[in-house]
């Protein structure tokens, strides 16, 4: 009897475990973070001329994309030194050996780098700091600010449904006091947040001409750092939507015709190569893509981007022939940029025991 009871309880546990839906959520980072420093470790106190491990744990947001060319830098290290390549080094010295991380070679000893971090992946960057001598700190306890900077290439996607309804349907909804439909949106994690400010629903009538619409996006830097590069925007237009003469006037070009370089924070590189590197699984050569470059000198605290497009005449004709009074158009936006985020901690040296 008891065995039967135990078996049935276990069975219930297992059965319930198999039928539910688990919603996985990023537990350590917010949606407005691409990479985040989730842990900083430094020795509690240094004594003069001792070596201690300083490390930061960097995590890529599970809800984000691959981060690439991730470089972590310690700033304001002096008067501390860094033990690397088997010797004490000035923090601004270029590394003489291959180092411990993929991209270490050729970087400063105060820097570490890896090629990429997958969503949800964590990595610990470690430095071996050598404390200054008692003489250097004038025999006074030193509390020294240390900054850690993480720079990386990042990508984001934004999906936005734009709802269009016929004027007749619009009037019916108003008169019947129903709520107007508004398209939903979804975006991946990242520091640059995109908000759609396009007034919805967009109204149309069955005329024999295209219906011009202007999509409005608000781009906000909501991360703790700042973009160091140009920001590349690619808009994917759904079927039935096309560009107009005004589109190019607002800096949007056909993907095929676009041939510009982008500043990636340190050098000018081919924008399209950069985009394709960041979105490896995407084929931008197929489909209706528009591309726009935002200069890195812009103030990314609040940038409005306008994308004038039109519902084509053919599309209106199709809607008319099928007497469609409401339709949702899915727009996608792809964003690429390089971002830098900075954190601060203090390291202490007590003039004891040298």
């Amino acid at each position: 009897m008891k065995k039967l009871l135990l078996a049935s309880v276990l069975l219930i546990f297992l059965a319930l475990g198999c039928v539910g839906n688990e919603e996985r959520k990023e537990t350590k980072l917010q949606v407005n973070q691409g990479l985040g420093v989730i842990n900083v470790y430094s020795p509690p106190d240094f004594t003069p001329k001792t070596t201690g491990t300083f490390s930061i744990t960097v995590r890529n947001n599970l809800e984000g994309f691959y981060a690439k060319n991730v470089i972590a830098t310690l700033e304001n290290v002096r008067p501390f030194k860094i033990f690397d390549c088997g010797e004490e080094n000035d923090p601004l010295k270029t590394r003489s050996c291959s180092g411990s991380y993929e991209l270490d070679k050729g970087l400063l000893v105060s820097q570490h780098g890896v090629k990429m971090l997958a969503p949800g992946q964590e990595i610990i960057f470690t430095w071996y700091l050598v404390a200054p001598s008692s003489e250097e700190i004038a025999n006074i306890a030193l509390e020294h600010p240390l900054y850690y900077l993480v720079e990386y290439d990042y990508a984001e996607t934004v999906s936005q449904n734009i709802v269009m309804i016929h004027e007749k349907e619009y009037q019916r909804i108003i008169q019947s006091n129903e709520s107007l439909p508004v398209g939903t949106s979804f975006s991946s994690a990242g520091e640059l947040r995109v908000y759609t400010k396009t007034p919805q629903p967009i109204r149309y009538q069955f005329f024999d001409s295209a219906v011009p619409i202007t999509l409005i996006f608000e781009l906000k830097n909501e991360g703790s750092g700042y973009p160091v590069s140009d920001v590349l925007l690619v808009a994917q237009l759904p079927k039935g939507i096309g560009s107009t003469e005004s589109t190019e006037a607002h800096g949007w070009y056909s993907y095929k015709d676009f041939n510009e370089d982008c500043y990636n924070g340190s050098a000018e590189i081919d924008c399209k190569e950069w985009l394709e590197e960041m979105f490896k699984d995407y084929d931008f050569s197929k489909g209706n893509f528009l591309i726009k470059k935002l200069d890195h000198a812009l103030n990314f605290q609040d940038v409005f981007v306008y994308l004038p497009v039109e519902v084509t005449q053919e599309e209106i004709s199709k809607l008319k022939s099928s007497n469609t009074l409401s339709k949702t158009y899915p727009f996608s936006l792809y964003i690429v940029y390089r971002y830098a985020t900075e954190g601060k901690t203090y390291i202490k040296v007590y003039p004891l025991g040298e």
């Binding site: 546990f13 319930l16 475990g17 002096r78 006074i140 600010p145």
Partner: protein, 485 residues
């Protein structure tokens, strides 16, 4: 028999058990016997049961529930339960149950760093008089205790009598100079000078090596209350008061440091553009462990932007210890010597720092009119030695002589002078010496600190102010002269 006793007696009779049939009686007896026998506890079963329960809980908590959670399905209740068990509070509870006598790491106090226990004290001299009432003309003895209450070892302390005996004075009553020390003999100290000096009889001795926290005793005998101080006849029964004072002097070094945080101008602009540029007021750190505390202040919030930033630093001091700053006797007497430098890792070069030279009491010293005095081994108040002059001064002038003298008292002070001279000679660091008269010292300003162009995003350099100063502790005692003849 009272009424109540009678009722009680009747009630007792009614409760007597009635006769029972024999079989029933036997059964009852058997049952009673069984009940009387002590119960045998089956501990094996109990242990097995408890172990089984624990194993079941462990299996559910640590194997089944996490497996269920990870199985891709996620059952909300199981998640909830496993969530509860994996919470910090639960883990803390388990930790406390398994470590009943330990303090959890969160609650334990951070171990006090011994550096923080250092005091702002120095040496303290205590005069001990064994006999308060002393007849005129009779010898007596005193004790001098030298305590090192600071946290720095003291290499040498000079002991001198603060009110030296003046054998030349006439009959006039001088209660502070009546103790004749010309025949005095002291044990526990080395006599440095004994004889007349400037019309007074002086006795200077020194004690070597007093480690921090320790003390040394000197016993002096053959002190005599000078007959000349005896009151005239007619007041023979009066008890006159005489004061004896001793003073211990040694050199100390105190440091203070102010961080100057610099940010690259391009980087600052980027941060400003993105609303991420923040400034804070910086706080100076003073060394604890010596009797003088240097205060440094700057008005500018930091970080300062390189190439355009500029600030001034105000220097002041206080003596929280029981003693006071002294004027050391001899040729190179000075009350305080301040040395300022930037101990930056950056080689800023001379023109960027202290552009206007040193300042004393708020007046900019654009020229050095007293420069020559510094090279003759004489030091006057306010004499400044800056920039290149310092290296010469180290070789020939004041600093050389000073170092020679200071070497006897404090290895640290001598080392500081040596180091700063080396820095000045190498021209890698900007060093400024300034001697300050204690009475006039109201504030010292390091002006126009121009921030250098840095080749990294952020860099912190430190302005360090070092003071080398003689410090004195004085102790007095009253002695009553007995005029009995």
């Amino acid at each position: 028999m009272s009424f109540f006793k009678k009722i009680k007696s009747d009630l007792g009779k009614k409760r007597e058990p009635a006769e029972k049939p024999t079989e029933e009686k036997e059964m009852i007896e058997e049952l009673e016997k069984e009940l009387e026998q002590p119960k045998k506890t089956d501990w094996t079963k109990i242990v097995l049961f408890v172990v089984g329960i624990i194993v079941a809980i462990v299996v559910i908590i640590f194997i089944a529930l996490p497996w269920i959670s990870r199985s891709g399905a996620g059952w909300s209740i199981s998640q909830g339960i496993s969530g509860i068990f994996s919470t910090y509070s639960f883990r803390k509870l388990i930790y406390e149950l398994t470590h009943p006598f330990e303090v959890t790491p969160e609650e334990s106090e951070v171990e006090e760093n011994p550096y923080k226990q250092q005091t702002m004290e120095g040496i303290r001299v205590e005069l001990q008089v064994y006999q308060n009432e002393i007849p005129y003309g009779n010898p007596f003895a005193i004790g001098i205790k030298i305590k090192n209450l600071g946290s720095k070892d003291v290499k040498r302390v000079d002991i001198e009598f603060a009110n030296p005996h003046n054998p030349a004075f006439g009959f006039t009553y001088q209660p502070t100079k009546c103790i004749d020390i010309s025949e005095m003999k002291c044990s526990g100290a080395t006599v440095e000078y004994q004889g007349e000096f400037g019309g007074n009889y002086t006795y200077v001795m020194h004690v070597d090596n007093i480690p921090a926290g320790s003390e040394k005793d000197i016993i002096c005998t053959n002190l005599i209350l000078d007959e000349k101080c005896r009151p005239p006849e007619g007041v023979s029964n009066a008890k006159l008061t005489h004061v004896l004072s001793v003073r211990g002097v040694t050199y100390y070094v105190s440091n203070a440091r102010l961080p100057i945080e610099v940010i690259d101008s391009d980087y600052a602009q980027t941060l400003m553009k993105n609303g991420k540029f923040y400034t804070v007021a910086q706080v100076a750190t003073a060394e604890i462990g010596a009797p003088l505390k240097i205060n440094l202040n700057t008005l500018a919030d930091q970080p300062l932007i390189d190439t355009i930033g500029q600030t001034s630093v105000m220097v002041g001091y206080e003596v929280p210890a029981s003693g006071k700053l002294a004027t050391k006797g001899g040729k190179n007497k000075f009350p305080i010597l301040l040395i300022t430098t930037e101990k930056s890792p950056i080689d800023m070069g001379k023109p960027t720092m202290f552009g206007e030279g040193c300042i004393m009491d708020g007046k900019v010293a654009t020229e050095y009119p007293t420069k020559s005095c510094c090279f003759e081994g004489e030091l006057y108040w306010g004499c400044e030695i800056c920039d290149n002059d310092l290296s010469d001064a180290c070789k020939y002038g004041l600093i050389r002589d000073l170092r020679k003298e200071i070497e006897n008292y404090s290895d640290e002070a001598a080392q500081v002078l040596e180091t700063y001279c080396q820095l000045a000679n190498s021209n890698k660091k900007h060093v400024c010496f300034n001697t300050l008269l204690r009475q006039e010292f109201k504030g010292y300003v390091i002006p126009n600190i121009k921030v250098p162009d840095i080749n990294t995003k952020r860099e912190t350099f430190y302005i360090t102010v070092t003071a080398i100063y003689p410090y004195a502790s004085e102790s007095s005692a009253q002695i009553y002269g007995i005029a009995t003849r």
